[in-house]
Amino acid sequence: MVELKAQTPFGELLPLHIGDMTVAARDLGQLTVLGVFDRAGLSKALEAAHGVALPEPLQSTAEGDAQCLWFGREEALLVGPTPDEALAKHAALVDVSDGWAVAELQGPGAEDVLARLAPVDLRDSVFEPGDILRSQLRDMPASITRTETGFLLLVYRSMAATLVQELRRAMEAVASRR
């Protein structure tokens, strides 16, 4: 009997502490893309099975261990649970748990760090906890969510090392100004 040992996307690269800021890997459990065919039906099924509604664009919903992130046009990401089979009637379900590297950036200056990497407006007046967007971190396709404690960043797993390198550079630059 063979055994396959699992590896995390960031391995030893995280956590990283620079100045008063920290970036750490996050394991959110199962990640499932929901390709929406029927919004109303899917939202109902989601609420019934996982307690979360289908989020509006640029929003996320959460209930207990389940989170649902808006993830693009006609697309959401179910975070945490294994999707209930009933969802398949209303959406394409695609397991992408291993496709994304997930990290959280925290600390004073986190917003300034992201201002060096993404061309999007993340001021707390316009981007509040629970808000989410799809953009690019440098040239890496990314999803950015503001959490109560920082920013949740998702990039392609293959780019995990580049994300850490870019975050390090931006964090050092921001820390040097403080």
Partner: protein
């Protein structure tokens, strides 16, 4: 330049992929004839003024967009989801 994505809001131009004239939505029938296909694929106006082009918010939500803009003033007049525009054509 900024484009107001109907889904994501105002975003920097670098998140968008530019394709070309929105005529691409009107794919001719296979037997429409050489002239129609030639016009569809190759013949383009070069107006000083309003154009409608297709962009994709590739670095964002992934939606294809029809952007109406002015080549002289660079003003963006309207941005619509290409899927909505195509449905309305039917």
């Amino acid at each position: 330049m900024r484009i107001e994505c109907p889904i994501c809001g105002s975003r920097d131009r670098r998140e968008f992929y530019y394709r070309g004239d929105a005529i691409a939505l009107a794919r001719p029938a296979p037997d429409a004839g050489d002239d129609v296909w030639d016009a569809y694929l190759h013949l383009r106006d070069n107006p000083a003024g309003e154009t409608r082009d297709l962009w994709q918010h590739e670095g964002g939500c992934g939606a294809w967009l029809v952007v109406t803009r002015d080549t002289v003033t660079h003003a963006v007049h309207a941005v619509e989801l290409a899927s909505d525009v195509k449905r309305a054509m039917a």
